[in-house]
């Protein structure tokens, strides 16, 4: 019970942390583009403003889907902080992804529908990569429990370098960051408007934004597992990964889903399988 309450508290702290990260992301991105950028707390102002909007939904199931999305992200993060099972965590994450898409498909807007189809293809790309990464971790630690990874003497990264790259790809796809902002871009002025998010508005969009913050924290947490032995190692690894992520986000342009499946996914899958074979042999 104590673990549960502690993990719950961690989830409550993690949300705002994710928001701050989003704020920092926006500032760094702005600087890369020679702009000043918004204040650090801008994501919070945005969410508060969205919550203040009058409800404006074209299908009540959008409300349901948005709540389930947030619920799934929070539960997955809770499992992470409770040092639970990696595969179970992954399956719980799927619940949110499925309902995000289901909500978009429940509305006959072509933008939302195309976005949803693309999101499904993105899921098709990142899900096997995440599963393979977790299997690789279990090969290295002998267990799917996060607790058992923490009890290892040596960091995982030297054993799982290719799976770390695979996870990096998977997470870029999951977070819809460029060049994989295929299902929904951050800017609402592109060919699919906001894609899968088009018909989520006001409070629902705010819920999804909060779910996104939690996802970012979870994903960084998963990356941190690759260097669990020292806090410094963890921070350095995370900072480097996130900085690279922002850099790639800013200096690549959006690719098509065919490119994603054929090149990015194909290559990464080979890397992931290679790493597993290496550990297995």
């Amino acid at each position: 019970m104590a673990t549960f309450l502690l993990a719950l508290a961690a989830v409550l702290v993690a949300g705002p942390m994710g928001g701050l990260l989003a704020g920092a992301d926006r500032i760094v991105t702005a600087r890369l583009q020679s702009r000043k950028g918004p204040p650090l707390f801008q994501p919070f102002y945005d969410v508060l403003k969205l919550f203040g909007k009058a409800p404006c939904v074209s299908n009540p199931w959008l409300i349901f889907s948005a709540y389930v999305c947030l619920l799934s992200s929070a539960t997955a993060l809770l499992l992470f902080f409770m040092q639970g099972d990696l595969l179970l965590l992954f399956f719980v994450m799927t619940v949110g992804a499925v309902f995000r898409v289901a909500g978009a498909l429940s509305v006959p807007s072509p933008f939302g529908n195309v976005g949803a189809q693309r999101e499904l293809l993105q899921m098709l790309a990142y899900e096997p990569l995440i599963i393979l990464t977790f299997v690789g971790m279990s090969l290295a630690s002998g267990s799917f429990l996060i607790a058992d990874i923490y009890s290892l003497e040596d960091p995982l990264l030297p054993q799982l370098p290719f799976l770390f790259i695979a996870l990096g790809y998977a997470l870029t796809i999951k977070l819809c960051k460029s060049p994989f902002d295929i299902a929904s871009s951050h800017h609402g002025h592109q060919e699919v408007v906001r894609g899968v998010l088009t018909d989520y508005a006001g409070p629902q969009l705010a819920l999804l934004e909060m779910a996104h913050w939690l996802d970012v924290v979870l994903i960084l947490g998963l990356c941190a597992l690759f260097w669990h032995t020292s806090p410094t190692g963890m921070v350095v690894l995370l900072a480097a990964t996130y900085a690279l992520e922002i850099l790639i986000d800013n200096c690549t342009s959006r690719m098509t889903w065919t490119w994603m499946l054929k090149n990015a996914f194909g290559l990464t899958l080979v890397l992931a399988v290679f790493n597993i074979l290496w550990l297995y042999a």
Binding site: E127, D148, A201
Partner: protein, 645 residues
């Protein structure tokens, strides 16, 4: 008492099937079917409460001779059927089976072979699934067939024939899982072949006949493999009992070589019945039959006979090359048929491919053969039966209402059939999301694959890819069903025959209830699985949390968390109902006309908006993939059997 319960599970459905065949009017037929289903279900429940048993039948018992007689009578009838169909391949296969059985019974076997009825928790779970899920499907059939025949404008009803074979199917499946004697099992095995042929061809269209013939010859080929396996088995150990095979392996620790040939042929027989690639086409073709037939074939009977046989025999070949090949065939089927399902918009075909994929996963688990994998396989059998039965019944009800089984036609179904749409979504979620039992089983399967000794990377890759593909085709289907007319939404009352709506609710409730009961189901199975493998490990269950040292699946905590969350989300949603204020976004020119969403086109003309899914035929189309898949699968089959000869 035991004899009575066995009678109730096996013979009673046969007798009631005869009664159904003779009841020409609807009222009697209803009574007969309900009595048959109720009696069978009660006997199954009694049998399950009674627990496992071993009931030997003495060699001099009349039953042995009677079963032999039935074996030949059945083969004779199938031969007659094949001849009257003028289908040369089926004739040859039936002749081959008859010759093999003649040689076995009168050439090889001297005197009587002892036989027995046998049940362990696996068999009892199967009996419950067959009797309850199968029973609900039969009840649904009452309402469905009435409407089906009204739709076809039949003058004389063909329902007596229909329910004769439906009830026969239940009895045959119960017999199949409760017998230890392989020749008896073979009889029930071929009864299911016959029933499925008759039921697939039920509507009598040209397509139905052709597909039924395909199902017939493929399953007869499997039957031939079964006969061959019995011949090889008798030649090597002189016994035709499943338990004997398992005991030999456990006790003697002998080199398995003399058993691998018969076991490979039994697996081949199981693959045909469970429609593993390259035999998948008969099951896809079977969907031309009325929906209750598809539901029965796909969920509780027929295809489950195949996986049951492979699973039952799996301890005998655990750890051998054969086991690795079986695992490979299963995992390969799982990923390839999931990919094929992505390319389909026909609802029944999606369900069919998903069935084959799940059976593949069960077969893969049987091949992996660790206690965890076997647990996963049994749970998958149970949960897949309930969920898939439910989904087929949903598609049937939807098809009768909207006149199409294409999922594109089901957009916005929430508007016209709110209850059925919601039940379908529950069914879909129960196939792929936590905290439902099927997902627990998939989790066990994935962890078992990740710890399997041979072929681990390939198995994991196939299962990971397969489950991602699975999520894709389920998620989009669920989303489409949830569509509502944006403005002026008024809940409608659905008109359904009471048997139809009741069966949908029973199965939907059942899938939730069983998922909640899964710790108890597991505890009921655990001891027998441990005994089979002689190990103490496996999952510990504490407060609904499964844990085995390398993994943990928190069933009850997730049920509570997700359950509360879903209830809250539903309440939030209900509050907004009737206060829908926005139209779907169409670049700001969205309009609504006669309840249809669209926009004003260039000449001010209203254009309704239409959406469609990506089916990606150039990647996932049948014509694109099937050839390659079948070739690879055929090579695997040849290696499996040829490698041992």
């Amino acid at each position: 008492m035991l004899q009575l319960l066995l009678f109730g599970c096996i013979v009673f459905p046969f007798l009631l099937a005869l009664a159904a065949a003779m009841s020409k009017n609807e009222g009697t037929r209803r009574t007969v079917v309900l009595t048959g289903v109720g009696g069978t279900a009660l006997s199954a429940l009694g049998l399950a409460l009674n627990g496992g048993f071993w009931l030997p039948v003495p060699p001099e018992s009349w039953l042995n001779g009677f079963m032999t007689l039935l074996d030949f009578a059945l083969l004779g009838f199938i031969l007659y059927l094949a001849i009257s169909l003028k289908h040369r391949l089926s004739i040859l296969l039936a002749l081959g089976q008859t010759a093999g059985l003649l040689y076995l019974d009168f050439g090889l076997v001297s005197g009587h072979v002892s036989s027995a009825f046998y049940a362990d928790p696996l068999a009892l779970a199967m009996v419950l699934v067959v009797s309850f899920v199968g029973g609900v499907i039969c009840i649904y059939g009452l309402g469905y067939m009435k409407e089906h025949e009204e739709h076809l404008r039949l003058i004389t009803t063909r329902q007596p024939r229909f329910f004769f074979f439906m009830l026969l199917f239940l009895g045959a499946m119960n017999g199949l899982v409760l017998t230890d004697s392989l020749p008896w099992l073979f009889f029930f095995w071929e009864v299911t072949t016959l029933c499925s042929f008759m039921l697939i061809s039920h509507d009598g269209t040209r397509e139905a006949k052709n597909n039924a013939i395909r199902a017939l010859w493929m399953n007869l080929a499997g039957g031939l493999a079964f006969v061959a396996a019995m011949l090889f088995l008798y030649k090597s150990i002189g016994l035709l009992s499943i338990q004997a095979v398992l005991r030999i392996n456990a006790v003697a620790g002998l080199e398995m070589a003399f058993l691998s040939l018969p076991l490979a042929f039994f697996c081949l027989a199981g693959f045909t019945k469970s429609a593993q690639v390259p035999f998948q086409s008969w099951l896809c073709g079977a969907m031309v039959a009325p929906t209750p037939v598809s539901a029965l074939l796909h969920s509780s009977t027929m295809v489950k006979a195949g996986v049951y046989l492979v699973l039952r025999l799996s301890p005998a070949f655990a750890g051998t090359t054969l086991a690795s090949l079986v695992a490979l065939v299963g995992a390969f089927t799982f990923v390839t048929t999931s990919a094929l399902a992505v390319g389909q918009s026909n609802g029944k075909k999606i369900l069919a491919y998903s069935t084959i994929a799940n059976l593949g996963l069960i077969i893969a688990c049987a091949g992996i053969g660790t206690p965890e994998a076997i647990t996963a396989a049994i749970l998958l059998i149970i949960f897949h039966a309930v969920s898939k039965g439910l989904l087929f019944l949903c598609v049937g009800a939807i098809e009768q209402h909207i006149g199409s089984r294409d999922i594109e036609a089901m957009r916005g179904l929430c508007q016209i059939m709110p209850a059925t749409a919601l039940i379908t979504v529950i069914g879909i979620c129960s196939m792929m999301l936590p905290p439902f039992g099927a997902l627990l089983a998939k989790w066990m399967a994935l962890e078992a694959a990740a710890t399997s000794i041979t072929l681990m990377p390939v198995l994991v890759l196939f299962i990971a890819m397969g489950s991602a593909l699975t999520v894709l085709f389920w998620a989009r289907w669920a989303g489409m069903l949830l569509g509502l007319n944006p403005v002026g939404h008024r809940p409608v009352q659905e008109q359904q025959d009471s048997t139809v709506s009741l069966s949908l609710r029973i199965l939907a409730g059942g899938v939730v209830a069983l998922s909640l009961l899964v710790p108890f189901i597991y505890l009921g199975l655990r001891d027998s699985i441990r005994e089979l493998f002689g190990v103490g490990a496996l999952y510990d269950v504490n407060m609904g949390v499964f844990a085995n040292g390398i993994g943990m699946f928190a069933v009850y905590p997730l049920f509570i968390l997700l359950g509360l969350g879903v209830v809250y989300a539903l309440r939030a949603m209900r509050k907004a109902e009737g206060r829908v204020t926005a139209l779907p976004y169409l670049s700001g020119i969205q309009q609504i006309e006669n309840g249809k969403v669209g926009f004003n086109g260039p000449l001010g003309e209203f254009t309704e908006v239409t959406n469609a899914n990506y089916y990606l035929h150039h990647w996932f189309g049948e014509e694109r993939l099937t050839g390659t898949i079948n070739t690879i699968a055929l090579v695997l089959m040849v290696i499996m059997v040829g490698g041992l000869l």
